[in-house]
């Protein structure tokens, strides 16, 4: 039977899952836009402006979806999780407050100049506005992940009469899991944006767009992904070790370890069975999990049975982890392979382009899977060791939560479909736009007419 607790959880999960799709693109996409704009300022080559203008439109649309879905979050703390603010409001409140004050206003205000001010302000001010929006989106990630990490590994507070009080703000913000989580999420955003840019650019090229702009965007995105993907592997490993230290029950669920084991195998695949507290159909590499987590083939991994009643549901964490890691590996291999091809031939084969079209939203799936691992992995606690989710829930009638959930879901699904369709429509429309003309090139070389033909011949290189 569905109760307010379950429905509130589904509603919050739906909300935050929908929301996270958009910031995870915009955080890194804005830095890419800044790069494009700087390249334009330095070279004055119109192709960089073409790249900028196409992706700034995608950015605007994505940002709008992120903003409106984010507002919903600030309401739901009160509507569905009153116990959260009652218990840890003294900690969560200021962190959220700083996010609004230092990040939201900054990005929202300069976004206006970034999108519509290009002919109203000097070019350097416009570039600066792009940079400020990028800083703003990143700051926003900083604050919200500080809060999220504090919920995972709370420090710097004391409990008085059942309410958390701040003792040391530095320890609260820079809690043990924060640096790893922030790095992991920012890199995830980078990969998500790179594969989105690569996928849409590949789609344009497949549709017969032989202009320079999509080729440049494709190359930039794939080369950037080839750098970010191995960094993410390292960061993910560090994050895992940190989790192993502070939240061993989460790692036990990720690895599917029921009994405390010395020399635990790495399960490539298995079907965890929570009822009988065992796994079926295991495919494993012996001792590998112990090697990864303890750097010792006989290292001890605490099993789930040590945390009976206090550990998360195993299946979603177990599968989510494998989806995330699997996609991460696919991103690593494909971006490296494509980089080699691009550096040699300066173009990808049609089947390779099709592959990247297929990978357009791979970052979304990996991010969501990773998010579920870490958030479901925190259960049954809302704040580890401090507050259980079940104790924070609203006493609103389940039917009311059900109705609001249905409304949100309808809107979210419709918007998601519209968003994806619009992205591809924008890509198709851009195919018909003409290549920049040589007059655009010559306008910047008025002083030195001799350079014109040379520049046109050289084209541009990433």
């Amino acid at each position: 039977m569905a109760d307010a607790f379950l429905l509130s959880r589904i509603q919050f999960a739906a909300n935050i899952s929908f929301h996270i799709l958009f910031p995870t693109i915009t955080i890194a996409l804005c830095w890419l836009l800044f790069y494009f704009k700087v390249r334009f300022d330095l070279s004055q080559h119109p192709v960089w402006m073409r790249v900028y203008r196409f992706w700034v439109k995608v950015f605007a649309l994505t940002f709008a979806l992120g903003v409106v879905s984010g507002i919903t979050m600030s309401f739901q703390f009160g509507t569905n999780w009153p116990g959260f603010m009652e218990t840890v409001g003294n900690i969560a409140g200021p962190l959220l407050g700083y996010e609004v004050l230092t990040a939201f206003f900054l990005e929202a205000t300069f976004l206006g100049i970034m999108l519509f001010g290009i002919n109203r302000v000097p070019s350097w001010v416009h570039t600066l506005a792009t940079l400020i929006v990028a800083v703003g989106t990143t700051l926003s990630a900083f604050w919200i992940l500080a809060l999220n990490s504090w919920m995972q590994t709370p420090t710097g507070f004391e409990m008085r009469e059942g309410v958390a009080h701040a003792v040391d703000w530095f320890a609260i913000i820079f809690n043990p899991s924060f640096p790893y989580r922030l790095g992991h999420v920012l890199l995830a955003s980078g990969l998500t944006a790179c594969f989105l840019v690569a996928g849409i650019s590949a789609y344009r090229i497949l549709r017969g767009d032989n202009k320079k702009a999509p080729n440049i965007a494709l190359k930039t995105a794939i080369l950037a992904a080839a750098v970010l993907a191995p960094l993410q592997v390292v960061m993910g490993d560090l994050h895992g070790l940190n989790t192993f230290e502070h939240q061993p029950q989460k790692v036990a669920a990720m690895e599917g370890v029921w009994e405390t084991t010395e020399g635990a195998p790495l399960l490539l695949f298995a079907v965890p069975d929570e009822e009988n507290r065992t796994n079926h159909f295991e495919i494993a590499i012996p001792n590998m999990a112990s090697i990864i987590l303890t750097h010792d083939p006989q290292g001890k991994i605490q099993g789930l049975n040590d945390f009976k009643g206090e550990h998360p549901p195993v299946a979603p964490v177990f599968y989510g982890f494998r989806i995330m890691v699997g996609l991460g590996m696919l991103m690593l291999l494909s971006s490296w392979y494509a980089s080699v091809v691009l550096l040699r031939n300066n173009a990808l084969q049609p089947w390779q382009l099709k592959f990247f079209v297929g990978m357009t939203f791979s970052g979304w799936i990996a991010t969501l899977a990773g998010w579920y691992v870490t958030e479901i992995g925190r259960q049954p606690f809302l704040v580890s060791g401090v507050l259980k989710s079940a104790d924070a829930v609203t006493d609103i009638a389940p039917a009311n939560v059900g109705i609001s959930l249905a409304m949100y879901l309808t809107v979210y699904i419709a918007l998601l479909v519209a968003y994806i369709k619009t992205l591809f429509y924008m890509a198709r429309k851009s195919v018909e736009i003409e290549e920049y003309s040589l007059s655009e090139l010559s306008s910047r070389t008025n002083e030195e007419p001799g350079n014109q033909s040379e520049n046109a011949r050289q084209g541009v290189t990433v």
């Binding site: 196409f54 409106v68 205000t109 300069f110 519509f116």
Partner: protein, 332 residues
């Protein structure tokens, strides 16, 4: 040095200020959204262009206001949003529809543009009306009686009209020619209804709430408070006279209706704030009862004192960049 016992009052003032700024800023852009003429695409483009660079930052004031309620008065945040569960959900859906329509309308196939414009208008109306309904429920102390619902519905119409009024005044300032003439007509009509609405609320509010009644009738402060409605209605009268004369040659005074409207919003809001201070949930919870721990309030206050002036500075910069009559808004 700020004393601990002053912190709740300071945060109440900050929160009230954010709500007021929100009502003015998002008020005009929601108002413009509700006024979109479905039969004239070109005017719709101009109208939306006039609010395009601003809506996002405007909406952030709502996040700040709700954020401050959440940070400074968490128990009140819980009570208020639980009582207003459905109107809040509908408000959010309205804001979602309006916000995404900005971008979708400009990027989709031409034949779909009308649909997104309709959603833009609908979303703007939903958001405005829900805010009015929530305000009504707040004033009525979250009763679920027939009277309270009726009053709240009236309040929904009132707030939607007030937003339409300030939206029309914004357009008088930002638009030219035919659209400006249209806006003057809209402002006049909305002005009559908004005037009636504010008058009604001013009369009903003290009649249904003893606390409010005594606040407005107990001398000596009552003499001072009496200036609030008097000034408010004075601004209405000036607005009425101005709108009769506009447009003037060289477009002089095109900014006057907007300034008057901002003054009306400010004084109406001061009136409401005076009615309920120090309650954050009318007749139930005061700001002192609901306040968070002082060390948390202090931590955020120091940041806010540094950051809010910066926000003002760059907001002014942004308005300066887009100063004057609206031009074709393009970024591609």
């Amino acid at each position: 040095m700020i004393l601990d016992e002053h912190l709740p009052a300071i945060f109440a003032a900050l929160m009230a200020f954010s709500v007021l700024v929100y009502a003015i800023l998002d008020g005009y852009d929601l108002g413009v959204g509700m006024l979109l003429p479905m039969r004239n695409e070109q005017q719709r483009d101009t109208m939306i262009a006039s609010i395009g660079p601003f809506w996002d930052a405007n909406e952030t004031w709502l996040v700040l206001a709700i954020g401050l309620l959440l940070i400074a008065f968490p128990s009140a945040h819980n009570i208020i949003l639980k009582e207003l569960y459905f109107p809040a959900a509908l408000l959010l859906i309205g804001l979602i529809l309006r916000g995404v329509s900005f971008d979708f309308r400009a990027k989709v196939i031409q034949s779909r543009k009308d649909t997104w414009d309709k959603l833009f208008k609908l979303g703007s109306f939903m958001a405005a009306a829900c805010q009015g309904y929530m305000l009504g429920m707040f004033v009525m102390g979250f009763e679920s009686s027939f009277l309270a619902v009726a009053f709240s519905l009236l309040s929904a119409i009132g707030v939607a009209t007030a937003y339409t009024l300030i939206g029309a005044c914004w357009l008088i300032m930002k638009a030219e020619g035919e659209l400006q003439a249209k806006a003057i007509g809209w402002a006049r009509k909305a002005g009559y209804i908004a005037f009636t609405g504010i008058l009604l609320v001013s009369v009903i509010n003290p009649l249904i709430n003893e606390f409010v009644f005594s606040r407005w009738t107990t001398p000596p402060l009552a003499y001072l408070f009496a200036f609030v409605p008097l000034l408010c209605f004075g601004f209405f009268f000036m607005g009425y006279k101005t709108l009769k004369r506009l447009p003037l040659e060289n477009d002089e005074c095109c900014w006057l209706p907007f300034v008057l409207c901002v003054s009306i919003f400010t004084f109406s809001f001061v009136g409401l704030a005076l009615s309920f201070y120090p309650f954050v949930v009318p007749n139930q919870v005061t700001i002192w009862q609901a306040a968070s721990a002082p060390e948390s309030l202090r931590f955020i206050l120091y940041g806010a004192l540094i950051v809010i002036p910066c926000i003002f500075a760059y907001t002014l910069f942004s308005y300066r960049v887009f100063w004057g009559k609206v031009r074709d808004l393009r970024y591609y």
